[in-house]
């Protein structure tokens, strides 16, 4: 029974890894600490390094093929060995309870004595292959763990980000539309624009220096090196860039006080 489980694991591991990488299933078990660690450990500004994600994806694909081939070979070999023993030891199979570590050695001894077609060299070769496969199995297990961890991070990030985005952007937008409040619509639209831009650039690994603080703000995380310039009611008009001035005007027309901590083009518009 144990052998069947082993074979199944060996054969299916790459498929599990692959499916984990692509399905982006939310993992409710991963906590804030994991996310925080990753955000802090990767990238120059302490953010998630999307390059790493891309590399991991590539590794996942190459790992998939290695696992598939390895698994297939393993499965074929195991099936051959198993069917051989099934024909010879069919009756005693269920009674025997051999420890896992001695399984292959004992079987090979029996094979050696019972079947002349399998030479000692073949057995040796098979032993080596089995050893190799065991190593690969170990690697595959580690990879799976890493993918799972990464997946957890991503799913956690996505879940957290989109939950917050829903709470801070989507939901207020719906409310604003329902209320017919132009002020809130303008404010929320600009916030959406700000965060969607940051997220998009982050996802394509072309983030601006201010994108990370922007995302951290949305996810209620502590912001590091937030170098954004604040524009408030005391900022001299001459110190406001034209591309921001137009937004300030748009907000002022609606008597808005600003966009809180959301960063647009490196500027925060607040306390207007």
């Amino acid at each position: 029974m144990k052998r069947i489980i082993f074979i199944l694991i060996l054969g299916l591991t790459p498929w599990i890894g692959f499916s984990q990488d692509t399905t982006h299933q939310p993992d409710t078990n991963s906590g804030d600490t994991v996310q925080q660690d990753i955000v802090n450990d990767h990238g120059e500004a302490g953010g998630i390094d999307a390059n790493e994600i891309a590399n991991n994806n590539k590794d996942a694909i190459s790992g998939l093929w290695t696992g598939l081939i390895g698994g297939t070979i393993g499965a074929v070999l195991m099936l051959g060995i198993t069917s051989y023993f099934n024909s010879r030891k069919k009756k005693t199979q269920e009674e025997q309870r051999i420890p896992d570590s001695k399984l292959f050695i004992d079987e090979s001894v029996e094979v050696k004595s019972g079947n002349k077609e399998i030479s000692a060299a073949d057995v040796k070769k098979l032993k080596a292959e089995i050893k190799d496969l065991k190593l690969k199995l170990e690697e595959a297990k580690n990879e799976t763990t890493a993918y799972k961890k990464n997946l957890d991070v991503y799913t956690d990030f996505d879940q957290k980000y989109y939950n917050e985005a829903f709470r801070k952007l989507i939901s207020p937008m719906n409310d604003a539309m329902e209320k017919g409040s132009r002020k809130e619509i303008i404010e929320t639209l600009l916030k959406i624009m700000s965060h969607f831009s940051s997220l998009t650039r982050y996802k394509i690994a072309k983030k601006q220096a201010y994108d990370e603080p922007n995302m951290q703000y949305l996810m209620n995380q502590r912001m590091k090196n937030d170098a954004a310039v604040e524009i408030d009611s005391n900022t001299p008009v001459d110190k406001i860039p034209k591309n921001i001035k137009v937004l300030v005007d748009l907000l002022s027309e609606q008597s808005s006080t600003g966009l809180d901590e959301s960063i647009i083009s490196g500027y925060k518009i607040k306390n207007l």
Partner: protein
Amino acid sequence: MKFYSIPVIINDRREILLELTESSVTTGNSSYIVEVPSLTSFNLLSILRSSVIKTFVEGSRDLNMAQMDAACSYQNNVVTLRLYERQPEKPKEQKAAEPEKQKEKLSYEDLEDFLPELAPATPENKFTLHEQQEILGNANSHLNLSFESKAMGVYIKSRQIKAIDQQLFDRNKVSLKVVLEVNGENYSNTLDIYLAHPSQFLGIALDFGSESSQMAVKRYSNDFNLLEKKPEIENLFRNIVSFHKSNGWVSQNEIVDFYQEEKNTNFYKSLFFLKEQLSGEYEDIDKEVFIKNIADNLKMLVNTKDGFNTLTEQKFHQLPNLKIIHKHEDLLNGISFEIEKDGYGIPIKMSEIKQKVYNTILKVMITSFLKKEFIRYNNATRFIRLMLLVPNIYDTNDINYIQHQLGNIFRELSESEYQGKILAWEVLTISESDASFIGYINKSNIHVEKDRDYIIIDSGKGTTDFSIIRTGKDSIFDLKPIYRNGFSGAGNMITYALFETLLHYIRETAETKQSSIKFIKDRIVGILTSDDLERKNNFYTELERLKFNYKGINMNDQVRSTWDYAKSGDITFKDLIEYGDGINTLISLLSGIENAADFYHYVDDACNFIAESTVSYLKLIKENKKDFNCAGVILTGRSFMFKPLVDKLKDKLTKDLGVDGSKINLLNSNELKDICIKGVFNNSIRLNAEMTGYPIQLIFADEATQEETKEPKKPLINRKSLFARIFNDLNNFEQAEKVLAFDTNLKFDKLQNSQFLIGSKTYRISGNEIFQKTPGTKYEANVEFTHKGYFVRRMHDGVIDSIAPMRAIDDTDSSDMSLVVPSLFPNYIDEKYLNSLLRDDIKITTVAPPDNNNVSDATPNQSQNPLYF
């Protein structure tokens, strides 16, 4: 008009050419303020015996002062100095004896003896001078006047007859009438000298800089000592603010900062804005010399809060450097102004309005100070001497015009607001680079040699000016201008070169399928030429910082690698066009870079241009002035804070001019700016500030050959280096034979193929008459400066038989613009002059084929930029 020109020295400090006319018409500036020293006697007017009275009367000859007799009278506050040719008795005897000698010697046919007779023996020696000394009478309660005629010169002097105390003089004005009697006709001119009691004297020096302006003032203490005080630097900016407040142009209670303030200095930044639609009642637009309704139309103070944006909204235009655009008004053709009159909008060109603006600014600067002066010294009366520092690119006409307008400003003030307070005024101009030299010799621990040539090179932000000054044989303070010139191209040109380097680098490294040129034009140059002050400022701050942190060519690779690895977020220079946020990302990328270097030789070209141009002009003098004897070179100006330029210039000066490296002095510009403006108050320095220098005759090849050589003059199609194009202009001079045209050195035979380089301008002779000659006659010619401009006089046996005026050649062509535009950077940018965008030899980085493994490839709009704000 017939006149004689006589060099006179006023008060031992200024040498001027006094033009004596038949009708005694006063020309130019005729009022001089003489501050009366408490003890010593002093010269009001001196005419040196060594000088020559130049004639501008056809059929007459120049007169040697040594041959002139002088007589003086004093009546009704007018001193009349008569100069007349003495009828020497001895020479008559000699002349009578000479024919006899000739007769005797004719028979000997001795060539050696014969020749000296053709040239008449030097007559000066034959005159016996009657030394005279005469008391003319009392000029006022404290001073008398005397006349002296001595071997060295003719003098009108004054001496104290009563101790100078706090009691003011009862009379101040003395008119000096100089009359020249020649061939039975009288030529005369009158000067007004105002004898100022020390407590009434006020000296003002104004440096209207292209970047910033400053003012210094000299007074005497008004106590029993009446001592000369040290010149003080005025806070020009504060004065202008106070003036605006007192006129209600700025709210009294408003506490705001202004862009015109240069913190912790007394400078006033030269930043001016003029309204597009000018209001005000202009009777005659052309004749009106000032802008009307200053408060509404001309902004000299702009608050840092919303001033710029408000002005932009109200359609005010910032005026670029008034000095550089001096002759390039066409640059601003895009900006049009209008004066509304009787419901019609009369279009006014920049060239027409520019001078009015300049006059108005000067007026505000002067008035703002005077207002304070008369508030502080409530019942005071003043005799004012104003000295304006002018750039070398100003010619005689410009200087005359400015002097005239300054005179008008004082006249207007003395007739209205300060009637009875401004008693008299004197307006002087002095070249900025000359002032630097005066500042230099005023410095302690400086050794200046007598009778030597000094080269002063002043390279500021927009222009490089240079002068050659000869110190006197007897006194180092007797300064003679040999040459003054200047050109557009200095610090701004180097910053422009760095800007070009940056654009070139972006073009070269960008990995994009889009047009990098379009990106640069729209997203960088577009912003820099817009009214987005904040982003422009941020960008220039980074560019200036990089200029300060410039590394030499040997560090190119290292610096380049820091540029290559510079990041803003995930974005590098490679991604700037494809993924960047326009100029914002560029500014952010630049802020992450520590140094700049000259990857593509733009900076080297700029430094080369400045050094080459300066040295080429100086070489003209060195090679053609036989007694050129350079004792030192003084480098001053903010551009010389850029070491590669200093190195390049030193190298050129050493190699091409043979100047000893140890004689090249680099001065701290900030220190010098102070010394320089204070130095102009030095009364012991005698300087002719009117002349722009000696004319240089440029003899070009015959027309046939000229046609051939003209071809390469056209702008090169290959735009590899715009600076290379500029050098062509200097090469034109190289091709010409050059003669330093003074003391009749001028080559008359080649006059028709000649141009004259005087100061920064090229002139040619106007009219044909002077070229029509009688065959077989030997002519000589020389170029003379007058207040009406330069003239060529043709002489035959010492008699002037033809006089022709010289006209400046209008050489404003497109190649000039390639100099002017970089010099106006960053206030004016024109894509047409951005070499980094024009050249097609930039190796563009090929864009890699789409990477299938790239996640972002999954998006269908991959080639488009992400959202910009």
